[in-house]
Subunit: 303 residues, 2 copies
């Protein structure tokens, strides 16, 4: 087992890029997690420069946290999970980056989230945060559903819920829809008195701006508001269908991650809810497993 | 009638700004329409510079068409109907423009559309093109509904229909929705083989990009597709409710204008459809009536 010996001298860094933050964790096979760092937004679909900057900030903070010298970045084997790199053009752009690591292994944020959730074993994940999507990895085969972006896809996500809330509130306030508690909740939130005041403040907002409103939908649904209940149920039904499609691929485990995983869980179809298990490790650990596996594969090839 | 005599020496220009083009018409009280001109996009919400440029292009072309000298722009009394100038900040910005006209009178595109549709008399209009909204002017009082913008408002509009079409097609192609003819229509249109190919091409598209897809919804609905029918009916029901709210304000006439007015008309509630009358004049004529009225009011004040 030559490979194992070589790896034991190696340091790894796992990086999970997201729309609002970037998490990095430094790991050694011998001593486990050595340090972590947090950077800004790192979704290359929203800006490549910013993404690379956030990766470097989180990396430097993780080195510091681990008590390592800044120059030791050159000895790290990096695993990166980033949105959008399923597109070959974006994958190539990031691989062309003059990065400071010893080696860099790149895959999608879905892939690293899945590897992390199941500690490197096969499994499936549903991500429901600002957006929503599903991914499974079984016997080397991956499938994914959803994740088509705001406003045309990502049902059951925070952004989708927020948009649906604004829609029914505006209809209600115009006297063109059914009454809903959401109208008053949104008027208060936006500190305005009419539909136009809400519409103006939401105009041109990105998906994250709508996702912030999802909590009002859960809150109104808890109070029995019919339209809020309909939104929550429609979202949960979609996520249940997404889960069933993933289960059809035969994953040993299924996890849900993201800000809406917990509030949505009790609205899922019972046969789905009982199959959802907690993720074992976070996505940045998945990125570390991905880097370790990639190095091992290289060594096996060399042998 | 001093006022009338003064006006007879006057030339007017009516300008209707829109998201895709700007129309200008030059008019004299004695000889009627003298010439017309067509410019580019003139929606100040999407860019003030571009709007003013389009206004000038359409004005110069109208002067040319009327056989007038370019310098005669200084003798024109201009009526402008533009989107978004219900917002005081935008109204003020445009009024501060160092315009070349003798005088400039500014109001919303809804107002001039309504004045035009009813030849200066009271009435109501529904606009269903890329967006949708309703406006009425009765005894000096105006009301308006909808028009809250894509993707949160503007139900029954072309952009709303296009977005709903993309949503159901993506769900169908992911195996997470009901089958619909729209899937194949959109796959063909985007020359792609899967959901991601549609999602990528629509990502970040403005409302006009979605509005271009509305024709597929009507086409699939004509062929009896259940999901397309549901979209068309939901849109038409909303427009019917909007019409009823406008009729509640007591307008003598109701007109529908915009690219979807004709295809939607047969789906409206019968009691609404029978009340919809053709617009008598286009919005740019409404802008001329608005300018004439504004000049008359000035002269009455002077007297």
């Amino acid at each position: 087992m030559m490979a194992k010996q070589v790896q034991q001298d190696q340091l790894y860094i796992g990086i999970d890029g997201g729309g609002t933050k970037c998490r990095a964790t430094i790991y050694s096979l011998e001593h486990g997690v050595l340090g972590t760092g947090l950077g800004g937004p790192a979704n290359p679909l929203h800006g490549l420069e910013r993404t690379l900057e956030s990766i470097m900030v989180s990396t430097q903070l993780a080195l510091q946290d681990a008590g390592l010298h800044v120059e030791q970045v050159h000895s790290l084997n990096a695993g990166l999970g980033l949105a959008g790199v399923n597109l070959p053009a974006l994958y190539d752009k990031i691989m062309q980056w003059d990065h400071p690591f010893q080696q860099m292994f790149l895959t999608t944020d879905l892939h690293t989230a899945c590897i992390g959730a199941h500690e490197g074993e096969d499994g499936a994940v549903i991500i429901t945060g600002t957006g929503s999507c599903g991914f499974s990895l079984v016997n080397g085969k991956t499938v994914n559903f959803g994740g088509h972006g705001f406003a045309q896809g990502d049902m059951g996500s925070g952004a989708w819920m927020g948009l649906e809330a604004v829609k029914v509130a505006l209809l209600d306030l115009d006297g063109l829809g059914q009454p809903t508690l959401l109208s008053n909740l949104l008027l208060q939130h936006f500190n305005t008195e009419n539909a136009m005041g809400i519409a103006e403040q939401m105009a041109g907002q990105p998906s994250s701006g709508y996702a912030k409103l999802a909590r009002f939908v859960f809150s109104a649904a808890e109070q029995g508001d019919a339209l809020a209940l309909a939104i929550v149920k429609q979202g949960a039904e979609y996520i249940s269908r997404l889960a069933q499609r993933l289960l059809d691929s035969g994953p040993p485990r299924l996890s849900m991650i993201g800000g809406l995983a917990e509030p949505l869980s009790k609205w899922l179809a019972p046969e789905i809810a009982e199959k959802v298990e907690l993720p074992k490790q976070p996505p940045e650990m998945g990125a570390i497993y991905f880097a370790i596996n990639s190095v091992e594969q290289q060594l096996n090839k060399v042998k």
